[in-house]
């Protein structure tokens, strides 16, 4: 494997910045056209309705304007003609790590995925470039009727189920990037949990971009049937190149009555990746959807996990952290729509900016006129580690029902010299002390993660703090 030392030096301690030599079995030319879209669909031998929706989405994408929020100047730098929209590196999805091509297997071993699978996961899918290369689920879950597949296999094996729910939560016309994803999607996860089944251990998806100027457009659809529960965890990394890649995913969650979906993300893309993702769930009666969303890497992230509280008594939680270092802008937040009575929601957003990085909280909570007795709680905290770094908050609340109870708190703080001195007097170096303060700040988030992830996140933040003391 090669190390891209120049680019790594420029961004500092990014541990997953190495890349494999690119070996593709199918690679499309740069650029996007209706032909490319049809070819992707054709290659995957998809049903006609899927081809048609892809083409419609492509047409919408072509005329749709860029978002007018987030970081418009960074968005304008994206050159859609210099992106590879489809790249396949393995012939098919394997069920045994030994069957995965060796270099790709090595990549995931280096990232610790097979080891984690053995220890604490119910199932794993690993996506490399455009396609899932490995996929497995514990047999006991399979025998209970749990479906956990990569999205392409899901469409092949359960076309009716996919057709019923695909684009039902995020229509392709939602925004420019949801249109793009719908046009060229490949990979992602398809999950169905039958009525009353509880998947105790998390299932994990791991996304890796390896090639330069790559576009990764995975598509995930999770359906939790009545009274069921599942915890889905995703992680992502990419090599550090001097040119940009684009990751633009869609995640749709359907939580049927009384079910519980928790979706956790640790996004650690290298700092040349645009991460423009639409994540949204619909919660039916008494269902619960939680987004636990950690944004550590990428150049620009624009992501606002959303929940539509459609059924009475449903509950939404969005807990997110964002870390913005040099040259990074994390524009993240949450959207919650209270459409039914007695629905409750909680947003906790924590952001840290350092070395000139920029973090923004952008959130929207609405309560419709018919929704009585709703409870909303929004807390955003920002920690700024040095001069020149920036933190902004853009909260919106539209409450059209007077019985709603709304709480909103926001704080911006800086690390004080006295705090550092206190910790240093207990034998901790300045960097260790800063990492303790930062990890403490993120603690309300990390305690929601499976332990293995929490440890990894803490280590990641400790690395980010290294060399940060002038």
């Amino acid at each position: 494997m090669e190390e891209n030392s120049d680019a790594r030096g420029a961004v500092g301690e990014y541990k997953a910045g190495w890349h494999d030599p690119e070996k593709s079995t199918i690679r499309f030319d740069f650029g996007l056209s209706e032909e490319v879209v049809r070819e992707i669909s054709n290659l995957k031998d998809e049903p006609r309705w899927m081809t048609e929706i892809r083409v419609k989405a492509f047409k919408h994408f072509s005329k749709r304007k860029m978002p007018t929020w987030g970081n418009m100047s960074m968005l304008e730098e994206i050159d859609f003609d210099k992106i590879c929209y489809y790249l396949r590196s393995s012939e098919s999805t394997k069920k045994d790590w030994d069957d995965v091509p060796e270099d790709i297997r090595n990549t995931f071993e280096r990232l610790g995925i097979p080891e984690a699978e053995q220890k604490w996961l119910s199932g794993v899918t690993a996506q490399y470039e455009s396609e899932a290369v490995y996929h497995s689920i514990r047999e006991d879950l399979e025998s209970q009727g749990v479906i956990f597949l990569d999205m392409d296999s899901g469409l092949r094996e359960y076309p009716d189920l996919v057709k019923k729910w695909f684009c039902s939560v995020v229509p392709y016309s939602d925004n420019k990037f949801s249109a793009l994803n719908t046009a060229v999607w490949s990979g992602g996860s398809f999950i169905y949990v039958p009525e009353g089944v509880h998947v105790e251990m998390p299932v994990q998806a791991y996304f890796r971009i390896n090639a330069k100027n790559m576009g990764q457009f995975e598509r995930t659809l999770i359906i939790a049937d009545k009274g069921s529960s599942i915890h889905y965890v995703e992680g992502c990394t990419a090599p550090t190149y001097s040119t940009d890649s684009l990751h633009s995913a869609i995640v749709e969650l359907i939580a049927l009555p009384g079910s519980h979906i928790r979706y956790s993300t640790i996004q650690n893309w290298s700092s040349n990746v645009y991460n423009l993702v639409t994540k949204r769930g619909i919660a039916h009666e008494k269902a619960k959807i939680e987004w636990v969303d950690g944004n550590i890497g990428s150049k620009l992230t624009m992501k606002y996990p959303a929940v539509i509280l459609k059924g009475e008594g449903s509950h939404a939680e969005v807990i997110s952290v964002a870390y913005s270092g040099a040259g990074q802008h994390q524009d993240a937040g949450a959207k919650i729509h209270h459409l039914a009575s007695n629905t409750t929601s909680k947003i906790l957003s924590k952001s840290i900016s350092k070395n000139g990085g920029r973090g923004s909280y952008r959130g929207m909570v609405t309560v419709s006129p018919k929704a009585d007795n709703c409870k909303l709680n929004v807390v955003c905290d920002a920690l700024i580690l040095d001069e020149g770094s920036r933190s902004d908050t853009y909260p919106t609340m539209e409450v059209a029902n007077s019985t709603a109870r709304c709480e909103h708190e926001a704080s911006v703080s800086k690390v004080s010299d006295e705090q550092l001195f206190y910790l240093m007097s207990r034998g901790h170096s300045e960097e260790e002390s800063l990492a303790m303060i930062v990890n403490g700040f993120f603690e309300p988030f990390t305690r929601e993660l499976p332990m293995e992830y929490a440890v990894e996140l803490n280590q990641l933040m400790a690395l980010e703090m290294e060399g940060s003391i002038g």
Partner: protein, 247 residues
């Protein structure tokens, strides 16, 4: 060789001289007290021993067992065995007490002592001595602590870290009689009968009744104006500081 030696120390903050030539020697196994009014330089002395970056040393030296501390970062001093019980301990939200104690013990006493049952036993013993409930361990460092809890937490750290030199900066202020007794017992447990030493900085003689210092020094306007045995503390309690100015 003294455990701690302060030699002709002149020091201050942002250009203002606060300590105007201090000399002090603490031997192994000794407990000394510095008394003085607000603004006399007590906290400055404590901060300089621990290495607070805001204070500037203009002249003189601070030596721990003959080795100068002045060029060392505060965390390096801590690893050499200097401990400061803070007048205003800082809150670190999200940092769990148990986790923090283990990490501090690991960095100062070594990994071995921070592991497994040895650590737990020592911790339980110290917590019982200080009347600290178990639930304390999962709270965040000094976050939402009462004044008394903060001071007891400082002494808990003192007992676990077992420093060569403990400096207590007004640890007794704001505590009731029971609190002062508990703190004093903690100091006695950590220092008495060992070859470590302590410097207790205080306004009041009450804590000294329970600790029985070997020496008491009076700091006035950046200078030590009087030194003596425990009886000096009693005299200060009765007569105040005015008589020292007249002498």
């Amino acid at each position: 060789m003294s455990l701690l030696e302060i030699k002709d120390l002149r020091a201050g903050i942002s250009g203002t001289e606060i300590l105007k030539g201090i000399n002090l020697k603490i031997g192994a196994g000794e407990i000394h007290a510095i008394m003085g009014r607000n603004g006399s330089g007590k906290t400055t002395t404590a901060n300089i021993i621990m290495g607070h970056p805001d204070f500037d040393v203009e002249a003189g030296d601070v030596l721990l067992e003959g080795e100068s501390l002045l060029e060392l970062e505060s965390w390096e001093r801590a690893r050499k065995g200097v401990f400061l019980s803070f007048q205003y301990p800082q809150a670190v939200p999200g940092l769990q007490v148990g986790n923090f104690l283990r990490k501090s013990v690991a960095s100062i006493r070594g990994e071995e002592e921070a592991k497994g049952s040895a650590f737990r036993e020592r911790l339980t013993e110290a917590m019982e001595a200080l009347d600290i409930p178990r639930t304390f361990m999962s709270r965040y460092v000094n976050d939402g602590f009462s004044g008394g809890e903060k001071k007891r937490f400082e002494i808990l750290q003192l007992m676990l870290l077992r420093p060569r030199l403990a400096v207590l900066d007004e640890t007794d202020s704001g505590l009731d009689i029971d609190g002062i007794k508990t703190v004093a017992e903690g100091v006695n447990a950590a220092i008495r009968g060992t070859d470590s030493g302590a410097l207790i900085i205080t306004h009041y003689s009450r804590i000294l009744e329970h600790v029985q210092p070997d020496m008491v020094h009076v700091l006035l306007d950046g200078k030590i104006v009087s030194s003596g045995g425990p009886e000096l503390a009693t005299k200060l309690e009765e007569k105040g500081y005015e008589w020292l100015k007249q002498e």
